[in-house]
């Protein structure tokens, strides 16, 4: 049994210790908002927060995160999180939506550490989150919008 703390709640899971936290979230705990896109840390669709920092859940073994604070898209409730989601909705960022949980988790992490990111800051913080629908322009605008709202 491995003890996990997800979105402020405690869980016990009985899985192989090398299981990536992505599949524990998705297959065992029903948190399917976090997506599988590549499995090898190349796309960002699986981004969750570990103690507030963005990590790729697809390459993070569950044994490495036991007892630490994990936040998924379902548990996003911070002020920054709400501002980002509101901006995303207002600017109609989503298309297919599959990458967007990961985009939002990365954007929230960026804005939590950098209140007023420049375009370059956004480029470097978001460059590892792929969007095949290429919603990048609106993601950029929504991050600026959320920053404005939070200021």
């Amino acid at each position: 049994m491995i003890a996990l703390s997800i979105n402020g709640k405690k869980y016990q899971v009985d899985v192989a210790p090398d299981t990536p936290i992505l599949w524990v979230l998705r297959d065992h705990l029903g948190f399917t908002g976090t997506k599988y896109g590549c499995g090898i840390a190349l796309c960002g669709a699986c981004t969750v927060h570990l103690n507030g920092n963005p990590v790729r859940a697809c390459v993070t073994p569950v044994s490495a995160v036991a007892g630490q604070k994990i936040t998924t898209i379902e548990g996003l409730s911070s002020k920054v999180g709400r501002a980002v989601q509101t901006a995303w909705e207002k600017l109609e960022v989503v298309q297919c939506g599959y990458c967007q949980s990961g985009q939002i988790m990365s954007a929230v992490a960026l804005l939590s550490s950098n209140k007023k990111p420049s375009d370059e800051d956004i480029d470097s913080a978001m460059a590892a989150n792929l969007c095949r629908c290429a919603t990048y322009q609106r993601i950029r605008a929504a991050i600026h919008e959320a920053a404005k709202h939070l200021a």
């Binding site: 899985v15 192989a16 299981t19 990536p20 599949w23 998705r26 297959d27 065992h28 705990l29 029903g30 948190f31 399917t32 908002g33 976090t34 997506k35 599988y36 896109g37 590549c38 499995g39 090898i40 190349l42 796309c43 669709a45 998924t72 898209i73 379902e74 996003l76 989601q85 995303w88 909705e89 109609e92 960022v93 989503v94 298309q95 297919c96 939506g97 599959y98 990458c99 967007q100 949980s101 939002i104 956004i122 480029d123 470097s124 978001m126 460059a127 590892a128 989150n129 792929l130 969007c131 095949r132 629908c133 290429a134 919603t135 990048y136 322009q137 609106r138 993601i139 950029r140």
Partner: protein, 736 residues
């Protein structure tokens, strides 16, 4: 659902006239709970309502005042759910917040694509075009019956009743009622005759052409949207398949000992295209597959490389092909031309690489098959599944979920991945529901690519610099050969291979377009914008080359030959003027800058794009800005039209800058995003979209933004550097 009233004749007549609707009125006790909902999550289905008014197959109004629009088209990002709901809401005069959208079941009798005859499916940018009248009539019919119910209730003439924003009112007596309150009574009203309905004039639209917020925003930003990957059924197993390493390879034998030793692995079964490992969850299935030993039969394996194939294509291109279009005498005129220009262009295989790797959920119970899928081709998939299982087509039930992208991939004429999932469920005799998941590597290597193509073009100018002859030869596999769409091949020409080339809009008196269609076992398929994904590039880059040879401005030269194409002219002028065509670009020290243009029609929509680039001394470059002008008829939702142009430009840029599937000794060399890179945030240009005002019926926007971007970029790079790149993806070292 309890059916309490059967269709009456007048109602049938109205709805048939209204473009093929069939209907019945249902009074369900409650709606089925969402099967696929994950624990602690809201599902996709509407909340239960006591009484519901279902005036036709596309609208349901509950006593809770919810208007549910039944969407017959897949939402894969292109905005169909919002667009279809907008059409219904417009004629129903509903309030936008009361609208919910639900995916239609697979049933071609009610939900066929009106542009495809008796087939249900989404593609070819047809969702809005084929639904524009049908969905408005569906909304108008519901409104008519609500009004009739209120008129009867209040004993006032129907003509004195108004409907606005979801409220039915009678001004003289100051009475008002909501749709929900009227639902039960409206269900008992006579349906309208065709002549009872007058659709709104565009000037009276309240939703169409305005910004109705996207229906799918909320679930996609809070993680609750249900994709196929998120389906969880009781007892469900996850299946991963070991696929053959080459096309044409089959399974000789396999040893499942290692796989079965992995905790969580439940079964290992052979199917026609590999060996499936079934497990309790993804990770166990993955470890099981890694431990599986398969011996392949390579006797029929395809072992060519793409370099060899391209050489063969080049040889083929030296001889005439099947004629796709001819006008005047191109060969003779070319022979007499004062100046001749020639060029060749190369296009790689391309994978769709949607963010959601392919997957499909299947449950077999007796002679019933239920499927959960980001379903793009209901009728084709139902037909193929029913054939495989030997069951009637109506026993194949399909639940259409959101697709995490598709770009054509989920509409496979052979139902490749769907049949694979069904075969696995069949191999275990339906013992458990099966969720088949392809890893990214599986998805990348399965074929069904945009075909490899080779184009040669020649142009002849007379002594005054007029373009008098044009010859275009294409070499590439057919997408429709061997499929149920084979009828699209006429006189040896697959229309999807030459679209955009055979119908070049420029007024050139002598033209010859011909095609070679080699056959190879690499599976090919439509890929966002289909033939235009290559024809727009070769024609629009070559046209620029000809303009340069004739010493003419690329925009002026295009204008001079587009006199009979007012829509092309309009987008060309709009894009050029908004981009400041002709005004100098300011370059930072050490960089070279340039502007390029391309215009192309696909799927009835005409798009012009102007790209601005900055090139560094080492040849690396950035697309700084793209100005796009689009004529798609009435823009039902301008924000979504802009989003599709922005996204189409980004998608086209991935192909222009990065993407290629190559084969080496028959094996696909790419596997994941490190060797099949996609456009990233820092490479996305600033995109400005301008929509040409129009009162024509809408055409699609999902695909037409893609074709013009690659040629516009190459033309801009030429303007900046004087170097012409002709092969995709572009190689920056060629600009150094």
């Amino acid at each position: 659902m309890r059916e309490i009233k059967i269709v009456n004749e007048s109602r049938r007549r109205f709805l048939q006239a209204g473009a093929g609707l069939t209907l019945a009125v249902y009074l369900p006790n409650s709606l089925a709970a969402p099967v696929a909902a994950a624990p602690g999550k809201a599902g996709a289905a509407a909340p239960a309502a006591a009484t519901e008014f279902e005036p036709n197959a596309f609208v349901r109004i509950g006593e809770d005042n919810t208007v549910t629009v039944i969407a017959k088209h897949l939402e894969m990002g292109q905005g169909t759910y919002t667009g279809l709901a907008t059409l219904v809401a417009e004629e129903l005069d509903a309030a936008w917040p009361q609208i919910k959208v639900e995916g239609a079941p697979a049933d071609a009798k009610r939900y066929n694509n009106l542009l495809w005859g008796p087939m249900q499916g989404t593609g070819g940018s047809t969702a809005m075009a084929n639904s524009f009248e049908q969905m408005r009539r569906a909304g108008a019919a519901a409104r008519f019956m609500l009004v009739a119910a209120a008129a009867a209730d209040w004993s006032v003439p129907a003509k004195d009743i108004t409907v606005k924003n979801g409220i039915v009112s009678h001004a003289a007596s100051n009475r008002q009622v909501s749709f929900g309150e009227l639902a039960a009574k409206a269900a008992l009203q006579e349906a309208p005759q065709p002549e009872d309905i007058t659709l709104k004039k565009p000037k009276d639209f309240v939703y169409i052409g305005k910004q109705s917020p996207r229906q799918d925003s909320k679930p996609k930003i809070n993680g609750s949207a249900q994709f196929t990957s998120d389906v969880k059924l009781p007892g469900m197993l996850t299946a991963l398949v070991a696929h053959p390493p080459r096309f044409g390879t089959t399974v000789k034998s396999f040893d499942a000992t290692g796989a079965k030793a992995v905790a969580g692995v439940v079964d290992v079964v052979a199917i026609s295209n590999g060996v499936a490992v079934l497990a309790k969850d993804f990770w166990s299935a993955k470890k099981g597959r890694d431990a599986l030993k398969v011996t392949w039969d390579e006797s029929k394996a395809f072992k060519l490389g793409t370099t060899d194939m391209l050489d063969r294509y080049k040889t083929l291109a030296r001889s005439p092909g099947s004629i796709a279009h001819t006008a005047g005498d191109a060969i003779k005129t070319m022979g007499r031309a004062a100046k001749r220009i020639e060029a060749a262009y190369e296009f790689p295989y391309l994978a769709h690489a949607a963010m959601e790797p392919l997957n499909c959920v299947v449950k077999l119970t007796g002679d019933q098959c239920e499927i959960w899928n980001g379903e793009q081709a209901q009728t084709g998939d139902q037909t193929n599944v029913s054939k495989l299982l030997g069951i009637p087509i109506e026993n194949v039930k399909i639940n259409m979920l959101y697709a995490g992208g598709s770009f054509g991939r989920r509409s496979n004429p052979h139902s490749d991945y769907v049949l694979e999932a069904v075969q696995i469920a069949k191999a275990i005799n339906g013992r458990a529901p099966v969720k088949m998941i392809w890893t990214r590597e599986d998805d990348m290597r399965a074929g069904q690519y945009r075909p490899l193509f080779y184009h040669t073009l020649r142009a002849g100018l007379d002594e005054n610099g007029n373009l008098v002859a044009w010859q275009h030869r294409l070499v590439g596999q057919s997408i429709v050969a061997g499929t149920m769409f084979e009828g699209m091949i006429k006189n040896g020409v697959d229309a999807t291979s030459v679209e955009g080339a055979a119908n070049l809009p420029y007024a050139i008196p002598n033209m010859l377009v011909d095609l070679h269609t080699p056959t190879y076992p690499v599976p090919v398929q439509w890929w966002r914008s289909v033939g235009s994904s290559h024809t727009a590039f070769s024609t629009e880059v070559f046209f620029d080359e000809v303009a340069h040879a004739a010493d003419k401005d690329p925009v002026e030269f295009r204008r001079s030959l587009l006199k009979h194409h007012p829509r092309h002219l309009a987008v060309l002028d709009l894009a050029a003027s908004k981009a400041g065509w002709g005004k100098p670009l300011i370059a930072k020290a050490g960089t070279r800058r340039g502007r390029g243009i391309a215009v192309h029609e696909s799927f009835g929509t005409v798009v012009a794009e102007v790209a601005e680039v900055s090139v560094k001394p080492d040849g690396s470059f950035k697309v700084d800005r793209v100005v796009c002008a689009v004529d798609c008829g009435i823009a039902i939702n301008p924000s979504i039209v802009r989003a599709q142009m922005e996204g189409g430009i980004g998608f086209g840029l991935s192909a222009a800058l990065h993407s290629a599937i190559t084969l080496d000794d028959g094996q696909v060399a790419q596997s994941n995003f490190h060797d099949y890179p996609l456009l990233r945030m820092d490479e996305m240009p600033q995109v400005e979209v301008h929509i040409v005002p129009s009162s024509a019926n809408p055409s699609g926007v999902g695909e037409p933004g893609v074709p013009p971007i690659a040629p516009a970029v190459v033309n801009a790079l030429f303007a900046a550097t004087g170097k012409r790149l002709r092969n995709l993806p572009l190689r920056t070292q060629d600009l150094a």
